[in-house]
């Protein structure tokens, strides 16, 4: 009854507060669309410069792999390289190519290297036709040749958005309850501490669940993100991730006195999680830092989402992550019930 009163109140607050509703629902979808536009394009074709008549065959050789620009003199080519009009200059000296890269962008460096290597392979095959260099045959266990960067990022990103916006909104709302004096007023009623936490979790949960389903549905249904496994598992993981964010946000708000201090938790709580979430390759991270990844909820969510969306796995692969997220949520909620003791002892 009392928990229901809290839920009804939170729903009414949300419906009156269009701006927060927009932040929760529209903003994640808009940002996701932006990421899609940036990362779903074709693979980058490097722009390579060549000099003079000596290397006039260059457009034919490199053409299939890169845009080739011809320059009259070495100086002109160097100027274009410095001005970042081209990514590299390729010269053939005594049969072996010399490549000078602009060098400031690793992604472009890789693109140039791959293009030049492919071109050289073609050339070698052409010259030693008799030898017939065998070409490797590629097979994929997961994913496929058409998998885009967006496909690999999207499981992590939808998890991150569900986590970040829920954390922020839940944290600030619960904090405002404290700074506005309404929490104290609530504690002057027979409302129990666990009832406050339960009411908040349920009331906010309605909207965060809606958000989680919308984000996942939008990424898969509209943006066409790779979906190898069952969408039901994706929904389950997303719901658990937002529940974890909700319980963590409301719990941490006990340690902030102002909205500004709540914002200060972002570099502390959110940013490290982004690093460990799988957005970046952590294969080479120092071992003494690696343990950190085991205490970040987002990593478990992102791992499970990847297993389902990219590798097409099911319950057996995500079981552990599901229980970790569930355990963390329960732990944060219990901690919050305890933290409210600060305001009323019983």
């Amino acid at each position: 009854m009392r928990v229901r009163a809290l839920i009804v109140r939170i729903i009414r607050q949300f419906l009156h507060d269009r701006r927060t509703l927009a932040l929760l629902i529209i903003v994640p979808l808009a940002v996701l669309s932006l990421v899609y536009l940036v990362f779903d394009g074709d693979t980058y074709r490097p722009r390579i410069g060549a000099v003079g008549a000596k290397d006039s065959a260059m457009p034919d050789i490199l053409g299939p792999y890169a845009e080739v620009a011809m320059f009259d003199s070495g100086e002109e080519a160097e100027a274009a390289l410095a001005g970042r009009e081209i990514d590299a200059i390729v010269r053939l000296e005594g049969g072996s190519p010399r490549v000078k890269l602009e060098g400031s962008d690793p992604a472009r460096n890789r693109a140039v290297t791959a293009a030049v290597q492919s071109a050289m392979r073609d050339l070698a095959a052409l010259r030693h036709q008799a030898l017939s260099v065998p070409l490797p045959d590629f097979e994929y266990l997961h994913g496929g040749p058409d998998m885009s960067t967006f496909d690999s990022l999207s499981p992590v990103l939808i998890g991150l958005f569900a986590f970040f916006f829920v954390f922020l909104i839940a944290g600030v709302s619960f904090l405002r309850e404290r700074t506005g004096g309404t929490l104290e007023r609530l504690l002057a009623t027979p409302l129990r501490r666990w009832e406050i936490v339960a009411g908040y979790t349920a009331g906010f949960g309605i909207f965060t669940s809606l958000q989680a389903v919308l984000i996942a549905g939008y990424a898969v249904g509209v943006l066409g993100s790779m979906m190898a496994g069952s969408f039901g598992w994706v929904i389950l993981i997303m719901l658990l991730l937002s529940l974890t964010a909700l319980s963590l946000g409301t719990f941490l708000s006990a340690f902030a006195d102002t909205e500004y201090q709540m914002i200060q938790f972002i570099p502390l709580v959110i940013v490290p999680q982004v690093f460990f979430s799988g957005l970046f390759d952590l294969g080479s991270i120092s071992p003494w830092l690696r343990w950190l990844s085991h205490v970040t909820p987002l990593k478990y969510g992102a791992d499970a989402l990847r297993d389902v969306m990219i590798r097409g796995e099911g319950w057996n692969a995500i079981r552990f992550e599901v229980f970790v997220l569930l355990g963390l949520s329960v732990a944060f909620m219990a901690a919050n019930v305890f933290a409210l003791r600060k305001h009323r002892k019983i």
Binding site: M1, R2, R4, A5, L6, V8, R9, R12, Q13, H16, D17, G180, G181, T182, E184, R185, L186, L187, A188, T189, P190, L191, R192, H343, R344, K345, I346
Partner: protein, 244 residues
């Protein structure tokens, strides 16, 4: 007169420390059932801290507090107390009606009784026309009145009001005091804090608070007579150790 003598709230040797700072320094006082008891003191004297302990939100570091015959804090007793905090604890993004419905539901009110009580208390505080306005658009005085309406909503046996008339115009202030007297006649105990001396005169009995100590208690007439003072303000100065 026998009910006048029944005790509604009592504090015995109450001390409240925050960290090392002692805010309430050993207060003993009794509020009788059905009386209007005023806590008078300047800001920082410990009024709000004392009132929060009586309302069951805070717990005394030392000493005992009993309200309605039960040792505080106690959740069951909380539903029989109406509390109005010093800061308006309202949800600005909700309408007055939604605020009332929420707090009413927390105290177990529903259906026809909730509707009737909402109409009664809003008429009492002169906000009957503003039920469906958002609280965010209310003036300071209107918020104060809505807070009072919420405290009265579930017809509590004991009312604890922390500075209830701040920012309320004299006409409405008078009608609120008339209502407090009416409630008191019907048996509701009212504990009210104030730092306005002329309001103190309207209380049945008065406790003067200074630096966390109760420096005097009694009816306004008793206090003035004892201090040989013409006004409550002079009496306060007398008991505070300052000769006027």
């Amino acid at each position: 007169m026998s009910r006048e003598q029944r005790v509604c709230m009592s504090a015995r040797g109450v001390v409240r420390r925050f960290g090392g700072k002692e805010v309430i320094r050993g207060i003993t006082l009794t509020v009788r059932a059905g009386e209007i008891f005023g806590l008078l003191g300047p800001s920082g004297s410990g009024k709000t801290t004392l009132v929060k302990m009586l309302a069951g939100i805070d717990r005394a570091t030392e000493g005992d507090i009993e309200v309605l015959g039960t040792r505080m804090p106690n959740l069951e007793v909380l539903s029989r107390i109406g509390y109005m905090a010093q800061s308006d604890a309202l949800y600005a993004e909700l309408t007055a009606r939604e605020n009332l419905e929420f707090f009413g539901a927390l105290s177990g009110l529903r259906g026809g009784r909730l509707k009737r009580r909402m109409r009664d208390v809003m008429e009492l505080v002169g906000l009957a026309e503003d039920l469906d306005r958002f609280v965010g658009t209310f003036s300071g005085g209107m918020k104060r009145r809505l807070s009072l309406a919420i405290a009265l909503l579930h017809e509590p046996e004991a009312l604890i009001l922390d500075e209830p008339t701040v920012g309320i115009d004299p006409v409405l202030r008078k009608s609120i005091w008339d209502e407090l007297h009416a409630l008191s006649r019907r048996g509701t105990t009212v504990l009210v804090t104030t730092h306005v001396m002329d309001e103190a005169e309207k209380c049945g009995r008065l406790g003067m608070l200074r630096d966390g100590r109760l420096i005097a208690a009694g009816t306004p007439e008793e206090l003035k007579a004892e201090a040989g003072a013409a006004s409550i303000e002079e009496a306060f100065l007398h008991f505070g150790g300052v000769r006027a």
